[in-house]
């Protein structure tokens, strides 16, 4: 449904994103996971065609959606797509909601704009969608303002807005990061159900490996503006081949099942101004050798997954 190939992004002379590839099909959830500054939100912005707003431009690669390359799409055509066939859910619901407008009209507008419905039709659709998102008494909620609602409820409204135009692809950028765990679990379940019921293609962007493990079919692990490993979620968690993925998994407390000590990763996440040459992870990598500091690694494919590491073959031979 959506296929990104070798995407690169620049802001002036700075290249915060390069060589990002992934694809997602209907009824499938793809997780893009990485720490702060890894370029995951920028990837979402690129796919949504929102880069020019912040002064960025796509320097290479393609974003293919339903047979057309979005990087070559004129802005007018993009507007039809954005919020229409491709929906976006942001981390903070208040960046998507107008604090001065009631909920009903805000959701109605999406269906009016993208589906050409009139006021009454749009409202009926809005109430219908709110109902499917298990929001009690949709007609009452339509008359409320955002400040009268809890964070979890606001995020449901944002999801309703994203669904109002019946999208094929949903991009969710940290949709549960601002929420409490019990609310997060509810939103994740909701997204899971939507993918199945509506045959949606969901791109879930998150820093949380546990959320990825819970809900995704495939994942892309990003580090310092690059995809470093991608593949089916079971394979990546069972046999991570990139040292960064291995370290990231070792950083997560597993409660009782595993009493092994958390290791952490030496050093800090690089910022876009000091991305290392060669492999971006080499200054923090326990396995790094001279070649890692000079040559960016190619993807080494094994089965359905691939890791961008000079020593991915070796990593595969040793159980992680």
């Amino acid at each position: 449904m959506l296929s990104v190939r070798d995407l690169g992004v620049a802001f002036g002379m700075v290249q915060p994103l390069s060589g990002v590839s992934f694809s997602v099909n209907k009824g499938e959830t793809l997780g893009i996971v990485g720490e702060s500054g890894s370029g995951k939100s920028l990837t979402a912005m690129s796919v949504m065609g929102l880069l020019p707003l912040s002064g960025g431009r796509i320097t290479g690669g393609s974003v293919e959606f339903d047979g057309q390359d979005l990087t070559k799409l004129p802005e007018r055509a993009y507007r039809k797509l954005r919020g229409g066939r491709i929906g976006l859910i942001t981390q903070n619901p208040m960046t998507s909601l107008d604090p001065l407008q009631k909920i009903g009209p805000q959701v109605d507008d999406v269906a009016k704009l993208h589906l050409g419905l009139d006021g009454a039709e749009a409202r009926a659709r809005t109430e219908d969608i709110l109902g499917t998102l298990r929001i009690p008494e949709p007609s009452l909620i339509c008359e409320r303002y955002p400040h009268q609602m809890s964070g979890g409820m606001k995020q449901r409204i944002v999801i309703a807005m994203a669904l109002a135009a019946d999208p094929d692809v949903l991009i969710a950028d940290e949709p549960t990061t601002a929420l409490d765990v019990t609310v997060q679990a509810q939103i994740i379940r909701l997204l899971d159900d939507l993918v199945k019921e509506r045959d949606l293609a969901l791109v879930l962007i998150t820093h949380d490996m546990s959320v990825v493990a819970q809900t995704c079919d495939k994942i892309v692990v990003m580090y310092a503006g690059r995809a470093v490993e991608h593949g089916p979620v079971e394979e990546i968690f069972d046999r991570p081949r990139h040292p960064y993925t291995q370290a990231l998994i070792a950083c997560i407390p597993r409660g009782l099942d595993d009493a092994t000590r958390l290791t952490g990763i030496e050093g800090t996440v690089p910022t876009v101004l000091n991305y290392p040459k060669g492999c971006p992870f080499h200054p923090r990598c326990p396995r790094a050798e001279a070649i890692c500091a000079t040559d960016p690694p190619e993807f080494s494919v094994a089965g359905d997954s691939a890791a961008a590491c000079h020593f991915a073959e070796v990593a595969n031979a040793q159980p992680a």
């Binding site: 679990a185 490996m209 493990a213 819970q214 990231l248 070792a250 997560i252 407390p253 000590r261």
Partner: protein
């Protein structure tokens, strides 16, 4: 081990100012919390936003004044102390804050930030100050060469290390850690947690660890207090204890494992968290609880202790 900290029926009521248009309202941010923390142990306080866990941390150090209850630290009744006595005692009980960005004065060099506790307490360190600062920076895994740097020149993880060095400066016995890793990336979080584990065994520290992250609390702590809307609803004597309160179970089931083979079946949760200004009578979890009965709507369940595993529920699991 003797108790380093004894908290009894600690409460804090906040009242909002009334006006011509609105009646004054009050809420119990912390309501009748009691627990003992033995020397060398780590107790985790876990709960969602607004449950009162950070207020509890501040009440214990008397950074805000409790409305009722008692806190004993190493035998001293803290609420009976004068501000001057309290200040001296705080040398032995320190806090590490969630946001290392706002915990350090941006105009101070790291050396000055780490030396500030000595200044405040009027204590002269045994070694010359520069050596003392270098020693503290090394203790938290920072290069002593950073002493002349400013906070904006270092990363978030390094700042949190400075926050810990400051807290350790006066050799405290108790550290209250208020979400010390919540603003950090996971790879850095793991570093800081490892550092705190090392410091605990090297210096014989006792921790009160506040967090919203149940997996982290399970990993790091010996005992767990689960808070919901100001009250402790369950006190797990060890991290392997099964949940007995329906809220604790909900919390556990909402916490995902980093393993695709252990996916959770997420049961839909009815109801919203009630407003703390307008709590229902009886149990605060009643509207979201699958086991709720008429009794739960009329009577607030007390924290009953059975074999050291206390639960505040009329129908425990």
């Amino acid at each position: 081990m003797p108790n380093l900290l004894e908290v009894r029926d600690l409460s804090k009521r906040f009242t909002s100012a009334g006006s011509a248009f609105r009646k004054a309202r009050s809420m119990h941010a912390v309501n009748g919390v009691s627990f003992d923390l033995a020397k060398g142990r780590v107790i985790g306080v876990v709960g969602e936003s607004g449950c009162g866990k950070s207020t509890l941390a501040r009440l214990i150090l008397r950074l805000i004044e409790p409305s009722g209850g008692a806190v004993h630290f190493d035998g001293d009744d803290l609420l009976a102390k004068s501000p001057a006595q309290m200040r001296r005692l705080r040398a032995r009980m320190q806090m590490v804050f969630q946001d290392p960005y706002s915990a350090i004065d941006p105009r101070y060099t790291l050396a000055r930030a780490v030396a500030e506790p000595f200044e405040v307490q009027g204590v002269t360190p045994e070694k010359p100050m520069t050596d003392e600062v270098a020693g503290l920076l090394e203790m938290v895994g920072l290069n002593p060469g950073l002493a002349t740097s400013y906070p904006h020149q270092i990363s978030g993880g390094q700042k949190q290390r400075v926050g810990i060095a400051r807290a350790l400066a006066l050799r405290p016995s108790l550290l209250v850690l208020d979400e010390p890793t919540a603003s950090l990336d996971v790879s850095v979080q793991a570093q800081i947690i490892g550092l705190l584990e090392d410091l605990r065994s090297d210096l014989g520290l006792t921790y009160l660890f506040i967090s919203h992250d149940l997996s982290l609390v399970k990993y790091f702590c010996d005992e767990i207090l689960v808070m919901y809307l100001g009250r402790v609803v369950e006190a797990l004597p060890d991290t392997a204890a099964p949940a007995r309160h329906p809220y604790t179970r909900t919390l556990m089931e909402s916490t995902f494992e980093p393993d695709p083979k252990k996916r959770r079946l997420i049961a839909p949760l009815e109801g919203e968290v009630p407003s703390p200004f307008d709590l229902p009578p009886g149990c605060a979890f009643v509207d979201r609880c699958p086991n709720a009965s008429a009794l739960c709507r009329s009577e607030t369940p007390a924290l009953s202790t059975e074999t050291g595993h206390a639960v505040a529920c009329h129908h425990p699991i």
